[in-house]
Point group: C2
């Protein structure tokens, strides 16, 4: 084919700003598809189905795509005229320049990597044994494996039957001769998983594989010290923000499962490389990795089929803890290194929740509810040995999804809000000009609107507040107007209020359901533990005011941070904790809300707002 | 690139007959290289280094390649003029027709697949458990793995902790739903390696992975019955016929290791498919495979490095028995099916010898020598719990290699010979016109030449016999002349005599060495067990006459057939036998001949011929 015909076949040239990336679109692609293919991340809470606004972009130059019927509904005439489109709805059929606003970029600043770091008795599944061998010769021509095993037994006592991982055996001759017959044998149970040099470290990596964010802790398995911690956005995010959107994607395009798996694997490799680089160590010294993820992430990472997980009755293929050779997935750690995946409880209650339970269990004597709020919210009630778990489809509202000006917790996101009778005060991340509103802000604004009378007990927006105006889609509260933002206004609409009401009602009804199954009332709860990234940033008072959390004294709540990551760390450091995680998963009784007659009435009851005791304590700009 | 330029770039066209295969040679290729690339097997005992004659071909049409200096030495002027060349020495630089004589094709008719088939208490490493599950529903949404495990425990009692192989888990949802929630779980230890349909068979495959031939037994692991047996030539053979030629190949071209590995894997796949097809079963029902191979085959199959195995002091990377997931090698059996490789003793005493020892041990009360004669000959002396093993570099003479008219045991091969004072009588395989001489014939001819006085006690060929003539390379015994063969004569030269003398002396000196290490004399031996394909076809009387075997009464010898294959069958059927194989390998003390001062004198002593008691019993055309 000639150069000229190649040129003629190339599609329209799309320039994405401010990234400065140019790409030729392929026939039939949308602006979102083309961006994904070009490695530009644009948030897409609904997975590119035109059901949210998170992928909004502005075409600032070149040929502006015709607005779709859905976009004509979604945007005002002015914004349509200004070139605003949802990138999933706009065809990339002509060359143009696309401005991706900060609100739509998928690069959060708040990836939670901290963990409680509770002391754990050090007893990891891997250990390193030092050796120094006699060199091979014609007089002593023992095979390499036997020479090493005999010396290990001589030096370290009875080790029981041992065998070599195949890749460790493949590397054995070179490792022995390169290091002058000295080194360290890395054992995992009865298997030698690596033969390293005499100065090698014994490292482990604990990973919280979340739908939105992935965080990792690099740990020295001989001292128990955390050497480095980091987080990154889950690169799968640009294909959807919740389990249902992944499931729907894979139902339509089964071949995407392999792509999503590869993205997760790439992320694990990035994580291990970044962490090791940061402290000057090698990823090949990571002897074991533990991963706590929800059931969908777990299945995608392992390449398990998700068809039955993705549709009712939502059955996982595999729930038990699973060890997989890292190389079988293409994760580059020690030759025979293993990835330990924590067990799942049910289709919507995964290893991340088991890890959170493991990290938090035993913090109170009486009944406890542990919750991890996300697009899917897992709740467990723990009373003695009893664990009952439910899962609520809370939707992406608390992650800024399905909210007209919603965004991830990035620079310029409104993170807290105070509404008084005469105005609105906002606090943005890094005090930048407001570009949208993130989860904690969404919860605040709902609580504040109710408290200040902007919405009534049923959530209807009232006239008369100076910042309430009639927008294209009905009433909206202006959080920052065009003058304040230097761009489009950031507003909170009646539809946004409804979306948050549905989310908080689902979670609260889940609590109600758990309590009713256990025969308890809210006041019987000793503790409510709020785990996870969103849970760490919310204002508990706002959450009570909004009706997300039960109306209990503040001292009964604890925001426990990244409990899933802490659980992953514990099972990395301790085989006893790993056993315990398995017991928790087996002990937990999963109650399916969809099959419960009582759930829908409870949900309806929780959509509105209640009189509360705590109004006076909330509504502060917290300065976080 | 234009069609014309492609045509111009194509190399000379080589037509191989009688196969009828045409191939364009690449720059620098020899006729042997081009044949290999075109999947034509030409024997090549020395691995293509011009050190033997096994790859001889005749260029019958087109441009005859210039003879190399080495070929001018190797062939008579007449044969050079007739177009005879060694295919490893002739450049494929011009289009021509190449006739590959039967002697040079690498398709043996004698692949030994029989085995003693001794009764073994059935206790295989895998077993199948039947199940019938309640279907999943919203009311009973247990994960698939837990549903199955709970039912297995309910139906089959305490099974201890069980976990799923990842591929078995990947197939689980479909397997359950396809078979209406009924089926069979295949367990290997604590691992579920497959979930099959309710009518699935539980099969195993025992493989003797020889340098020359590969044989397999397909076994029903629930009844212990052998369902089918077959053998095929090891496709690696066209790259060499012994360990040293492989080692030398890989030292020069390390990338060939992957090719040799792939050839072995392809052969295992052919074997399992052929065997299953023959009895109408599926290779995916093979739950386990056992493989007995020499250390080089073992290392090549597993992709272990062979650099240190290939040069002194010949150290294996791995000697212990090893289980590898079949899929890690690309061998297609049950999803989580495992290949069990028998343990090795040393660089030149591999799992095939361990298998032979396992199959034969305990057949006598007193001391026993078990030997497997091949290009490398392994010998073990067993006395009570004591096992001493040596390995002799006997060379390919007994497989027809490095013998001027040597060939594999194929149609037309001279398999037995009688030499009288007035002539020669031969017996060929399938009574076809003689094209060459195979191993048993080689041994016969040596014994007969000595017995009839054609060679003296030192192996020098004498004048005066009517079939002895002066050939280009000195004296030769004509076994079949041009008139009898309808082609080139089949002769046995002075150099051939020397080659066989070296081979038999190496083996016999190995025996001497073993006896001396144990402080025994030949007459102390209760039994001499001769295992392997060559050993099955030799005339024991000839072997004694030639000095290959000690001069003991016939009833102390036993030709035990494919003992390696029988050992592989036993470890497939019985975990206790598998344990025993491991004990044998650990118990065996390997004595390196190269480091022994006593070996070379013993070897020199055994090169000549001795007065014998048994001359009268040999020299019969056995009619085999």
């Amino acid at each position: 084919m000639s150069e000229a015909s190649l040129q003629a076949q190339a599609g329209p040239l799309i320039s994405y700003e401010p990234m400065g990336v140019r790409a030729h679109a392929r026939p039939g692609e949308t602006l979102l598809d083309c961006a994904r293919r070009s490695k530009i991340r644009i948030a897409s809470s609904c997975g590119g189905h035109g059901r949210c606004m998170t992928c909004t972009v502005q075409v600032t130059d070149g040929e502006v795509p015709e607005p779709s019927a859905a976009d004509l509904e979604a945007f005002s005439g002015r914004r349509i005229a200004e070139g605003w489109r949802r990138s999933c709805q706009a065809a990339a059929s002509a060359s143009c320049t696309v401005h991706v606003p900060a609100r739509s970029t998928a690069a959060p600043v708040r990836t939670q990597v901290d963990s409680a770091g509770l002391p754990v008795a050090l007893d990891p599944a891997v250990r390193a044994l030092d050796f120094q061998l006699a060199p091979a010769s014609l007089e002593d021509c023992r095979p390499d494996d036997r020479r090493l095993l005999e010396e290990l037994r001589r030096r370290h006592g009875d080790l029981g039957p041992l065998h070599f991982d195949l890749d460790a055996a493949r590397g054995l001759p070179a490792a022995l001769r390169r290091n002058d017959w000295r080194g360290r044998a890395v054992l995992r149970g009865s298997e030698i998983v690596a033969v390293a040099g005499p100065d090698a470290r014994l490292l482990g990596l604990a990973v919280d594989l979340g739908t939105t964010n992935i965080s990792g802790l690099l740990v020295d398995l001989e001292s128990g010290t955390t050497l480095a911690a980091t987080g990154l956005e889950n690169p799968q995010t640009s294909y959807g923000s919740d389990l249902i959107s992944y499931a729907s994607l894979i139902r339509r395009k089964p071949e995407k499962a392999a792509l999503l798996q590869q993205l997760a694997i790439d992320a694990l490799n990035s994580l291990s490389t970044d962490l090791c680089d940061a402290v000057g160590l090698k990823a090949s010294d990571i002897a074991e990795m533990t991963v706590a993820g929800n059931t969908m992430m777990h299945h995608l990472l392992l390449g398990l089929p998700v068809r039955d997980l993705a549709s009712s009755p939502f059955i996982p293929a595999l729930s038990a803890a699973h060890d997989v050779e890292a190389r079988d997935l293409g994760v580059e750690i020690a030759p025979g290194g293993v990835i330990h995946l924590l067990p799942n409880i049910a289709g919507f209650v995964g290893g991340d929740h088991v890890a959170a339970l493991l990290a938090t269990i035993g913090q109170a004597d009486g009944p406890v509810i542990t919750m991890d709020i996300g697009t899917n919210t897992e709740l467990s009630l723990i009373r003695g040995d009893e664990i009952i778990s439910v899962s609520c489809p809370s939707g992406p509202a608390f992650e800024g999804g399905n909210i007209s000006c919603g965004m991830r917790a990035a620079v310029g996101a409104i993170e807290s809000v105070r509404v008084t009778s005469h105005g609105v005060r906002i606090k943005t991340i890094e005090d930048a000009p407001a570009v949208g509103i993130c989860g904690s802000g969404v919860l605040d604004v709902l609580a504040q609107m109710y408290q200040s009378g902007v919405i009534d007990k049923r959530g209807r927006m009232q006239e008369g507040h100076p910042r309430v105006r009639e927008g294209r889609f009905g009433r909206e509260l202006v959080l920052a107007d065009e003058g304040e933002t230097g761009g489009p206004a950031v507003v909170f609409t009646q539809d946004d209020v409804r979306a948050v009401q549905l989310a908080k009602a689902a979670i609260r009804a889940g609590c109600d359901h758990l309590l009713s199954l256990a025969g308890l009332s809210e006041n019987d709860l000793d503790k409510v533990l709020i785990a996870g990234a969103f849970g760490s940033y919310i204002d508990v008072a706002s959450a009570i005011t909004a009706g997300l959390l039960p109306d209990l004294p503040f001292n009964r709540f604890a925001q426990v941070g990244n409990a899933a990551g802490e659980g992953a760390r514990q099972v990395l450091l301790s085989r006893e904790r790993r056993e315990e995680a398995g017991c928790i998963a087996l002990r937990a009784r999963y109650a399916e809300l969809a099959s419960s007659k009582a759930f829908l009435p409870a949900f309806s009851k929780r959509i509105g707002f209640a009189e509360l005791r705590h109004l006076k304590t909330s509504a502060q700009i917290t300065g976080k």
